[in-house]
């Protein structure tokens, strides 16, 4: 194909950009493209938050109530009836500290997975990077996460847990937890466009996933010979990390956290590549 001639046109800036192909190629170009749309991501996430609590009496109270109710039930069942160990920390703080990041992960995935199909009218009518839909859903869940997290602080004060400077590691854990949620959500939401079965698979998977993560029991209860295998679950490293840095004043087990970080990174990059691979078919398939 011969390149187009660029003839100067009166009234038009001399350096007109050349004709460009419709869509960037390569992961880095995709990320740059996504960055260009950051404001849209922001307003869609904001819309998610607004819409979620419009015409509900409790409003954002639901963000707290969900993990809080689970904490109460778990405390009754696992601590009082089954006498599950909680590493010397009062069971309510012990479980709530895990339930907040876990609820973020589970609700991120469950909101993100149907997000593309639910926005069918946008997908078929206008173009922007499609990952914005699952990312906006996760963004909205992050707002809930931030609200629910304030209760952790309240519980820590209530039960006189001595929090030390190790809590400064928390942002690292938050970053990892977002990465895991994004990776899983991207893969599952893309598949959901083609196979709606995913909608039914996801609740089952997240429930099983919770029990193979140290949410209701401490990591130390997992038998030694399973530990290496168990830590392949990135949520295990993250949740255990939260307990160490907030409740025990310890630094995380850096080796284990390194594995978690590597797996999280693989999930994000792999999930994004997978999503982008199928993205352009969404409008045709839906």
């Amino acid at each position: 194909m011969t390149p187009l001639r660029e003839t100067p046109v009166p009234g038009v800036r001399a350096e007109t950009r050349p004709l460009t192909a419709r869509r960037p190629r390569g992961l880095r170009a995709h990320v740059a493209h996504l960055w260009h749309y950051r404001e849209l991501l922001r307003s869609l996430a904001l819309k998610e938050v607004r819409v979620r609590y419009k015409q509900s009496v409790l409003g954002t109270g639901w963000a707290v109530l969900q993990p809080f109710a689970l904490m109460v039930v778990f405390t009754a069942v696992f601590s009082r009836f089954l006498h599950v160990q909680s590493e010397g920390v009062p069971y309510p703080v012990f479980s709530y500290t895990a339930l907040v990041p876990w609820t973020f992960f589970a609700s991120s995935v469950s909101f993100a997975v149907p997000s593309i199909v639910n926005n069918m009218n946008l997908v078929t009518k206008i173009y922007f990077p499609r990952e914005i839909f699952p990312l906006a859903a996760i963004g909205a869940c992050f707002v809930d996460f931030a609200i629910a997290a304030t209760i952790v602080a309240a519980l820590v004060l209530w039960y006189h847990v001595g929090v030390t400077w190790t809590a400064l590691v928390v942002p690292v854990l938050i970053l990892l937890q977002v990465m895991v949620a994004v990776g899983v959500a991207l893969i599952a939401s893309a598949i959901n466009v083609f196979f709606r079965d995913i909608r039914f698979v996801i609740p089952l998977v997240t429930q099983v996933w919770m029990y193979v993560s140290p949410v209701v029991y401490p990591l130390s209860e997992v038998p030694e010979r399973f530990q290496a295998f168990y830590m392949l679950n990135p949520m295990a490293g993250i949740i255990d990390g939260y307990r160490r840095v907030i409740l025990h004043g310890q630094l995380p087990d850096w080796g284990a956290l390194g594995v978690t970080a590597a797996i999280s990174l693989m999930l994000v990059i792999g999930g994004y590549a997978f999503f982008k691979r199928f993205e352009m078919q969404f409008a045709d398939i839906i």
């Binding site: 950009r17 050349p18 419709r22 869509r23 607004r50 419009k54 946008l122 173009y127 922007f128 409008a283």
Partner: protein
């Protein structure tokens, strides 16, 4: 001028239904790969043919065109011709199966008004949401917000959830946001098909302003009059291919002619099976052909407001009929009957026709209609039994092209005096009548 849009041999395939098939495309097919390798080695083209296989539709077949900066191009064609697919490809909503598409500048697609409005959010919240979906930054929306609200005439309701809006308010708000986009390339898809006449006029006026300000516009519509008014150039699509590309009046004319040909073949073919089974008509007389003529007696399908027009149709009689009624109905594109006339309603007597005889019926009339698309239905009725002999629904169609910027359903052709001085001239219809009168005189022996 530099092109801002280039389509290079673009084809687009859609799969119908089969969902699994689409994933299968990503599983390598060793047989096809080997075949393609062999062909490439021997210098043969590797393209498979574009014929539709089972469950596949080629919405576009090897479409190539370029659009220059500042051009306004209309795209017309029957449903399923591939018009909207072109816009979707340009907007980046979907990718071509083959070929390449290049664009320059900020491309905004107006495929639907109010895309992404959420009913629970207020007008204000939706302006920000819709604006960012359409590609505006928050700062841009801040700056334009008051102007948007004013344009939509919704100052009082801007903090009301849009689910409580009337559909008119909803559309006004949606269009107001879209009107503030300042795109370099604007793609518009049949947006004007919704809304009332005033709203459509407002949209059209705004698009006219954009075109004049040098924005490149691609306009898909069934409203041929709007297309020919807004766009100098029009592309005619049919079954996924470009069948005509040129100045709008020529393209529109060619399209109407092709469409009419199709209608005539289908409706007035001598052995049309549809007619054989129809029991609504008696078949005592048959309409065998129809054409539209201008004041000079030339076959045409577009008129200017106030032109003199003749509808001519032939009737073949199968039985002897006394004083049959010949009728003409003119409908606007939306189905509104703008005129329903017959020899009987005008109090005329038509005489006696014997079996095997033929009659040429001509309705002469002025067209004081507003700009738009119209169709013509003709029928013949037995006055003695009050039964239809033949009825040809939408046997022909025509466009009326406005000659000035006045709007509305009919052209009242006002003359305007200011302080007793005539500033705008009298009815064009009279001028048309004078013309046809002269033409009639010229034809007299």
């Amino acid at each position: 001028m530099a092109p801002v849009i280039r389509f290079d041999n673009v084809s687009k395939r859609y799969r119908l239904g089969a969902r699994l098939g689409d994933l299968r495309e990503f599983v390598p097919d060793p047989v096809a790969a080997a075949r393609n390798w062999w062909r490439r080695r021997n210098g043969q083209p590797v393209h498979e043919d574009l014929s539709s296989k089972n469950g596949e539709v080629w919405a576009l077949k090897d479409v190539s065109f370029e659009v220059e900066e500042g051009e306004a191009v209309g795209i017309i064609g029957p449903n399923g011709a591939g018009k909207s697919t072109i816009l979707k490809l340009l907007a980046g909503i979907t990718e071509p199966t083959r070929g390449s598409i290049e664009t320059r500048g900020r491309v905004s697609a107006l495929i639907e008004i109010g895309t992404g409005f959420h009913p629970d959010l207020t007008g204000r919240e939706n302006v920000y949401l819709n604006g960012s979906i359409l590609g505006l930054t928050r700062r841009e929306i801040d700056a334009k917000f008051d102007s948007i609200v004013e344009f939509a005439e919704l100052e009082r309701f801007i903090d009301t959830p849009v689910k409580r809006y009337s559909s008119g308010m909803y559309m006004r708000l949606g269009f107001a946001v879209a009107a503030h986009l300042e795109p370099q390339v604007l793609l518009v898809d049949e947006v004007l098909a919704v809304g009332d006449v005033l709203f459509q006029a407002k949209c059209l006026r705004h698009m006219g302003e954009l075109v004049r300000s040098g924005c490149t516009v691609l306009f898909v519509s069934h409203n041929l009059e709007a297309v020919s008014r807004l766009c100098r150039r029009t592309i005619v699509m049919s079954a996924g291919s470009i069948i005509d590309d040129g100045p709008s009046d020529q393209s529109v004319h060619a399209y109407l002619k092709a469409a009419q040909g199709a209608i005539r073949r289908f409706r007035i073919g001598p052995q049309s099976p549809e007619r054989m089974t129809s029991d609504a008509v008696t078949g005592d007389a048959r309409i065998t052909g129809i054409e539209l003529l201008d004041a000079q007696g030339r076959s045409t399908s577009s008129f200017r407001v106030g032109d003199w027009a003749t509808v001519r149709y032939r009737v073949a009689f199968a039985t002897r009929l006394e004083d049959p009624e010949f009728a003409l109905i003119v409908r606007r594109h939306d189905g509104l009957v703008v005129y329903d006339v017959s020899t009987a309603t005008r109090g005329g007597r038509t005489g006696v026709f014997r079996a095997g005889e033929e009659a040429v019926v001509e309705f002469h009339q002025c067209i004081p209609l507003g700009a738009g698309t119209y169709n013509v239905t003709v029928h013949v009725t037995r006055t003695d039994l009050r039964m239809r002999c033949d009825w040809q629904e939408a046997a022909a169609s025509f466009v009326v092209i406005g000659c000035d910027l006045s709007g509305g359903a009919v052209s009242l052709q006002s003359a305007v005096d200011v302080n007793g001085v005539r500033v705008v001239g009298g009815p064009e219809c009279l001028r048309g009548r004078a013309q046809v009168f002269r033409a009639g005189l010229a034809r007299m022996p």
